[in-house]
Subunit: 336 residues, 4 copies
């Protein structure tokens, strides 16, 4: 099979960098184009010095028709709103697209507009776009023109929760998700709050009771399990580059051991889901596409723990995994 | 009034260093002795190079009778079990003592022995020693010979929870405490798990469902509020030197605003408790004796957030605060 | 004596925050005003949440005449160029000023304009303003209306070098200064290069062969020693909040021990200079106004090591030390 | 060609972990055995949780004869002294070996014994073992039974210095190397000095004037260039997991541009050496086998800057690169 030609739209951020790194070592894909409004004309390696000597790609301004000709798949790393508009243009020009934004993740346009406070540019496709989690939706991903790449926090919550709710091991409306993320989740734009001296040596919650990943978690766990789900989700900023640990408090009919057993069965064919005996640390999965999950009994509740790399399984690794599925390649190619 | 002469027993760890720093700038106290089994004979400043040129104290082996003669108060920074034994000797030799260990914090010898897995060397004093939280027990601290200095995590949980349970604003048996601590909480002994490259760039839970600070929290919130309390407490190790953030999930009759109002009244005369509008970060209180607390509504629950410096308000700052109360000084002396 | 009333101009950065912290614990000074172009109208504690509950000062727009009336001394934390202009206005309105910028540090207007690429707004005062290093210029500082607060890197280089050059122990034109600074030295403005994920887990040199602190070091070591000095200065950005370590390679007639002896004599009356046997680490002086210095023989050269806290002795601690001298207080007041 | 079967001796440290990671993704090698005195009987993934689910190797006690039968090459990660003894046994049992220790790096037994303070267990091979730097010694590596894998600091110094000395662009006896390393260079044994709270938020020099990598640098740059070389080498511990930046001060006949040109020619066929225009940061090469080098004019000297990942190009990546050369594979296989 010939190489998959990949383009990246919005190539200056951290997820785009991680994506470029993964594509440069992928045996069946090659990075052929990268776009950015702000840095067009510069070599991609000038914007990301760790790519020095590894790619000749020069950043260009976005021309959907041209990209569609030169790429088999486009990875769209734009912010919500802007992304849906570009995805629509790319699809109409004939591209297959993996969309990193939240624009096509939710089932409902109303919920989207309520949480994201913008009109959706392509509402017809909301609820009709596959959620890019091959652990559950590989068949649809295989034939999709657009794949909605999952959010970072949702990945760390949906994977442990979905099978437990589906198998009715836990109460679907008494779930507390306390998530801790590295700073790269906040993006690469120049904001005082993301400066080294603001976030280093400090941990804090943010967006308490109002983070947009909460409806995404509820929607997806609901869709996968067939039950109505209500979670309380609280994200925290942690002084490290990458990684998400979600500590999830559930109540139910099962013990921690039974929940681990449920996971082992649910994910027997999922190469990136690891059910482990030890308590997962984000360092154990840094730079990998794995999620490590474990469970512990604690009084009348069970505590679930799930660790991912927010830039890999939480973003760009998942995108490559989706690309592999879209093009009929082994799911793990270039990711092991 | 003449200076308070202070001795430190177990002077080589991080809490002892923080204590030495605080005593060196205290206008009415002076550090006159320091003991350690392992480093006797060395200048204290050789073990803690940041004290270079600031103290002439030489580490000695522990002699309770001698210490009692030369000190008005002894700060005992030994591990549990060993501490109770030494505290007993010091008291019998005539010292007043602030004990940093857990040995005299709980109400019940049985609960102590169940969680700490040792026989208590001085069981008569368990349940009869004041808990060193001047926000609640200043009168008893004033006349105490032994003060049980609070645990770091418990401080960050008891202060927000106690008034809410007492005023029946929250359900006392549906409380989840998700705490994140800097690495100094793990002490200064040579363990692989505490190496830089093990804990840096990583966050992980530990002792899930079985940390000894859980019974301490339940006991104290119960004592202060007059209600039976059951919490689920999960500590996490966070890649930073110092700081604890506790994210506490409660359910009850009140809104976040009502809970903030309850705190403002409860702590109107407590100079170190700050009820703040912003979401507290551990960096905001690093190096201070303050606790910053805030609350947010989140669906059917309220999320409480409390940040302290684990080495200061969570250990040595609290000890100095207790010392100030014991000797009739203003509570904030040397701590503002 | 009545309290010194202090105003801060340019109050939103990290040096201003450190200054506010120091003033809040100073027994003879009080912070009475703070100005900023961008945040006028906000409480100072809203811009710096770690000041919550500790100061009522509200940020105002700069009015030199008004400030001069209400303050005994103004600390000016503006960038170079802008600072000289404001300092001139403040002095004309009757203030005494400690200037944190480089505008009045150098001896020569030409050298200033060559390195800083701006016309100097008040050239008459260049070369006639005292350099705020009380270890050498206390007499002039005492009566000065303007004190040029030293640069952070220069402090870590001038203190070890000046006495050695003066006593002709080292060759004054074969000096290499390799300095490593924490990220707070880069300021608090929103720049991509200062984001957490750019600087964390990385060390790099910057401004090699062209950093503006090099002429300041050469000028001051020259002035103090009476010899022409030429250094090669290379700064590095290090993943930590605060601290500067300067590793200085010199060649000369003396051994490391002789150089340490020279320092001990030169700084016998300088309470913040510590000549130590151990190799200094920035952590040993973090949060203090001390410099720790040591020397080691290494083949035909001697390696000098000096550690300071860039925000304290390298900026705001030095400013308070200067203020103490200006107002006839003990040099260490509020800084021990 | 069939897979190269690899064994790791001394498998519990950070270099061994990095090696295991690299071997698990290498297309032509497989990790078949791992030994350790302390953890025999445990799965390798229990000692290194980030290997969970990725390898079934169980740690065994070292049996050289058995290893030699089952492995085509053994990677020996033991400390100096112990390593030479084991290497000798392995070679006699028929293994090819990559030795991570310093035991076979130097030319002279006397210099070895002077700096390492031990008798050399196999002195006959000192000076007759190839130094594992394929950029210079690929032909000998190809046929070697033992390859002395380079030290981490030396790699960052030899690569920039050797061609400049050889081409007489710099003075070979006026070279100052100021190196900054991440903490993983200090190993994984339980020492107080390597605890998180000792090294975090701090930078310090160590072993000034007496680090064992200095004779290695002098020896190798001398061997490659044909000139007698004397450097002054000072290592620093930097608060980050991995990475080395060496800032090298040289004096000579050439400009920075001429030195960059010399490098480009010298390393035209060296896929891992990158001569870059920007100032290298350790983050740019983290997790890769690249060295990034640049040069800048600075007065009468030139400043050379070289960044590597100490665990990869500074240890395990170099070992895999050597293995590739030993077995006739493309030098970059599994490392791009």
């Amino acid at each position: 099979m010939s190489e998959i030609r990949v383009g990246i739209v919005g190539a200056t951020g951290y997820t785009a960098l991680e994506l470029a790194r993964l594509l440069l070592i992928h045996p069946q894909a090659s990075l052929v184009a990268a776009t950015s409004r702000s840095d067009a004309g510069k070599p991609l390696a000038a914007v990301h010095p760790c790519l020095a000597g590894r790619t000749d790609v020069v950043i260009e301004t976005l021309d959907p028709a041209s990209l569609a000709t030169r790429c088999d798949v486009v990875m769209c790393c734009l912010p919500h709103g802007a992304s849906a508009e570009t995805v629509q243009q790319l699809v109409k020009a004939g591209s297959r697209v993996v969309d990193f934004s939240a624009d096509f993740r939710l089932s409902s346009v109303d919920v989207y507009q309520q949480w994201y406070k913008v009109d959706h540019p392509w509402p017809e496709r909301v609820g009709k776009t596959v959620y890019g989690m091959p652990e559950y939706f590989a068949d649809e991903i295989r034939k999709a023109d657009v794949v909605a790449n999952p959010g970072c926090y949702p990945t760390s919550a949906i994977l442990p929760l979905a099978p437990l709710v589906r198998d009715q091991l836990i109460d679907p409306v008494d779930i507390i998700i306390d998530s801790k993320s590295g700073v790269s989740g906040g993006g690469r734009s120049a904001k005082v709050a993301m400066l080294y001296c603001e976030t280093n040596e400090s941990i804090a919650a943010y967006a308490v009771g109002m983070h947009r990943h909460q409806p995404e978690i509820d929607d997806l766990v609901g869709r996968i399990s067939g039950h109505t789900v209500e979670t309380l989700f609280t994200p925290h900023l942690t002084p490290m580059d990458r990684g998400i640990l979600s500590t999830i408090y559930v109540r139910g009919r099962g013990t921690a051991d039974e929940m681990m057993e449920c996971w082992k069965q649910a994910y027997a064919d999922s190469p990136f889901v690891q059910v482990v005996e030890h308590l997962p640390a984000t360092k154990h999965v840094a730079g990998t596409n794995f999620v490590q999950m474990s469970a512990r009994d604690a009084g009348s509740r069970v505590v679930l723990l799930a660790a991912i790399d927010n830039l890999s399984k939480g973003a760009s690794g998942a995108a490559v995994q989706n690309m592999n599925v879209m093009f009929g390649l082994p799911e793990t190619l270039g990711l092991a």
